[in-house]
């Protein structure tokens, strides 16, 4: 950070119009923040000659309504131009049927009629960002810095992504909200949690880490002494409309399971040892192929990894343990994605 001149007069302080900010006609400067944000969006669409439908046509200014831009459902939240946090109302996230696909943040200076689109979060990213918050509250505070990409990313997503790539997710998909479903995997696998919070939700079970359970071509087998004594397995299946778990799996023709275990990678060649998480998605019938196109996505902080089955018997991934929350999504083209609640390798 640059040093501040000691004689700098606060009266002289002004901020540069942020890069990418939209300057509205000055006649609009006394509008409400949402009105200005929508006007800015409309202005950007006109300037870029993008003819995308923006709705709801007669109720755009209603803050309780989601925007529909190119048929993508967007929750638009606003804050002042210099804000470092904004409040995201949780009401739209109660029901997965009508929850937003994107959360967009607009920073608004009403007095200067300037709008900066801070960026967007997908529903999956919002779930991860809100994981530690009290989902039963009326709103969840998020740092503005968590929103990325500005207007450019919003327009990129709504123009290019298939709607199925932006699943609708509900905060109350699990009873009591995500905070209660936040799984401390290390404690669970060590057997020190009184109950398994994923058992009821996803039919997940704890099993002893059997020898060879994680054996895989090209991957080291987990040595018993280095691994967690238990592994967590989540039964999964392909239903006609969605990737499902728990009891619904019994009715599926294609079924498979996700197994999670932690282990300690030993030090070698000057590299320090490290705690790792191993995930393995495999058919429930040993040796069977997974459905082609089945995807496993793991998001940790800002990074994300995705594996897609193509003639594969398993998808296997090793991740270094970190303080960041992990979210896991199982996807299949044309089906609603199954999003598991965030998990942590640390205690909540």
């Amino acid at each position: 950070m640059r040093a501040i001149p000691a004689d700098q007069d606060a009266d002289l302080h002004a901020i540069a119009v942020p890069e990418g900010a939209i300057l509205l006609p000055l006649e609009q400067r006394d509008g409400a923040p949402r009105t200005l944000a929508i006007a800015a969006l409309q202005q950007a669409l006109r300037e870029q000659q993008l003819s995308m439908p923006l709705g709801p046509a007669t109720d755009l200014d209603n803050p309780d309504r989601l925007l529909l831009l190119n048929r993508i459902a967007i929750q638009l939240v606003t804050a002042g131009l210099c804000s470092d946090q904004l409040e995201v109302p949780t009401a739209p996230w109660r029901d997965a049927e009508c929850a937003p696909q994107l959360l967009a943040a607009a920073l608004v200076d009403e007095e200067n009629a300037v709008v900066q689109m801070a960026g967007v979060l997908t529903a999956e990213q919002f779930m991860a960002a809100a994981a530690a918050a009290d989902a039963s509250a009326g709103s969840i505070p998020l740092d503005v810095e968590q929103f990325e990409g500005g207007l450019e990313r919003l327009l990129l997503f709504v123009q290019v992504l298939q709607p199925a790539a932006l699943p609708r997710l509900a905060l109350q998909a699990v009873s009591g909200g995500l905070a209660e479903a936040w799984l401390s995997l290390r404690e669970l696998l060590a057997g020190s949690l009184p109950s398994n919070p994923w058992a009821e939700l996803f039919g997940a079970g704890l099993e002893p880490l059997a020898a060879g359970a994680f054996r895989s071509a090209g991957q080291p087998e987990l040595a018993e002494r280095d691994a967690s004594p238990l592994m967590l397995t989540v039964p999964l299946g392909l239903a006609p409309a969605a990737v499902v778990s728990g009891t619904e799996v019994a009715a599926c023709v294609e079924s498979f399971s996700l197994a999670l275990a932690t282990y300690r990678r030993p030090a070698s060649a000057g590299i320090a040892g490290q705690e790792m998480l191993r995930l393995r998605l495999a058919s429930q019938l040993s040796g069977d192929l997974l459905p082609d196109g089945l995807g496993l996505t793991i998001t940790s902080g800002e990074s994300s990894q995705k594996l897609v089955a193509a003639g594969s018997t398993e998808l296997l991934l090793d991740l270094p343990a970190s303080a960041a929350l992990l979210t896991i999504a199982i996807e299949y083209p044309g089906r609603t994605t199954l999003q598991l609640p965030p998990l942590s390798l640390q205690s909540p």
Binding site: D11, A16, D30, D84, Q85
Partner: protein, 433 residues
């Protein structure tokens, strides 16, 4: 200068100091012979202006006010003029528009420039600007010079001018409302002054927020606008009933000042973003790996698809952009030169030197990030319909990577020493009759 008998004013020859013998004579007659400005003289003149229907005490205050306004403008020029195209005379036209006349126009009628006349006017804005400041000044709330600067910061025409120059004036009250308790705590520990602890500053700010929102809502309903709200004694009393309102106001302003100090560093550090430096050629080279393509697909064929899609997107989007720029070439031939140099592959720094402008001017003119982003989006929309890129339409992360790679491809030359595709497009377009 004599604070109360010399006026800073904008004339045809620029900003000058104008002697006003009538004001000097009034001061002598009222036994207020002072060279330096003082709060007590301000008050004496202010009371005199209310007791007598005489324009002269107000004239003295107008002189007095013109100097801090001038200093404020000079400060703005000094602090922001390097990065923003501020013109001293243009700024002065908004604040130093008082010519020292003893009459002013109110409701289309010439009237004596007295306190009674300006206080009785219902016009939302008065001209000259000094009339507006003196009408609203309350000596109990602020000194005259401070009030003048406050009003300047919220003067809509001046704010509009600054906005045109890429600069935003954010008032303390809005800034406080935008700031989270966490940040208040942080900035107070780092930059706070005075007796408040960080926890006390957070508590004060916490009481301010809901009352501010309520007051702004009420102001908007009453006046139909967001601008112009000022905290009054009742408002300040509600925030901290156990201390004088002046202390509460000073504490809130101290918090705002601390926030500004933090922001100065952040915003300054973020300005002058040079995409040229930020571009990561390694990412461009890794384009094919990032796009999650089928292993069997021929890489060079995919590269051809990318190049063709980008070219089509540029051909579709850039002619209208260039046409807009070309309209400005007659009045500003250095802009044409800048685009030509850009097409030849010169860096922003080199272009700035050749055009005799700051690098920020070049960066704003080229607007590379926005233009390249729009082209990359259009190209991505086309590419995801082709087999090698379909996966990018089903994954936000893959799409973002593809978009970044396309942008980098536009901005980086394919071969060392070559010219990047976006620059090449402008080079060809500007050479075409």
């Amino acid at each position: 200068m004599s604070a109360y008998s010399q006026l800073r004013t904008l004339s045809g020859s620029g900003i000058r100091l104008k002697d006003l013998p009538q004001a000097a004579a009034y001061l002598e007659q009222a036994e207020l012979v002072v060279e330096e400005a003082s709060a007590s003289t301000d008050l004496d003149l202010w009371f005199n202006s209310q007791e007598q229907p005489d324009p002269l005490p107000l004239l003295c205050l107008r002189c007095r006010l013109s100097d801090p306004l001038h200093q404020w403008l000079q400060g703005m020029q000094r602090l922001h003029g390097q990065q923003h195209p501020l013109e001293p005379t243009a700024m002065a036209a908004y604040l130093l528009d008082d010519d020292g006349s003893l009459q002013l126009s109110l409701e289309k009628q010439r009237q004596p420039f007295t306190y009674a006349a300006i206080a009785g006017s219902t016009a939302p804005n008065l001209h000259p600007f000094t009339a507006d400041v003196l009408r609203s000044w309350d000596p109990k709330r602020a000194s005259l010079s401070h009030w003048g600067r406050e009003r300047a910061r919220s003067h809509p025409p001046l704010k509009a001018y600054f906005r045109e120059c890429g600069l935003l004036l954010i008032r303390d009250w809005a800034l406080l409302a935008d700031t989270s308790p966490t940040r208040v705590h942080t900035v107070w520990l780092r930059f706070g002054t005075g007796a408040l602890s960080a926890d006390q500053a957070v508590a004060l700010h916490g009481r301010y927020l809901p009352l501010y929102r309520e007051a702004k809502h009420h102001h908007r309903q009453s006046y139909g606008k967001a601008t112009g709200w000022e905290p009054d004694d009742t408002f300040l009393q509600q925030i901290a009933p156990d201390q004088p309102t002046s202390a509460t106001k000073a504490q809130l302003q101290a918090i705002a000042k601390a926030i500004r100090l933090l922001q100065s560093g952040n915003w300054q550090a973020g300005s002058g973003d040079d995409l040229e430096q930020a571009s990561d050629s390694a990412q461009a080279e890794g384009l094919l790996e990032d796009s999650e393509m089928d292993d069997t697909t021929n890489a060079s064929a995919l590269l051809q698809q990318i190049t063709a899609a980008l070219q089509r997107a540029m051909d579709r989007l850039l002619p209208a952009e260039l046409a807009k720029e070309q309209q400005r070439f007659v009045k500003a031939p250095e802009k044409q030169l800048a685009w030509q140099l850009y097409g030849q592959g010169l860096s922003q720094r080199e272009i700035a030197a050749r055009c005799d402008h700051q690098q920020a001017w070049v960066s704003k003119l080229l607007d590379e990030k926005r233009r390249s982003g729009q082209i990359a989006t259009a190209a991505a929309a086309e590419l995801v319909r082709q087999p090698g890129f379909q996966a990018c339409a089903t994954s936000p992360e893959a799409l973002v990577r593809l978009h970044e790679a396309l942008r980098n491809h536009l901005l980086e030359p394919e071969q060392q020493g070559g010219v990047a595709p976006l620059r090449l497009w402008f080079q060809r377009a500007l050479h075409t009759p």
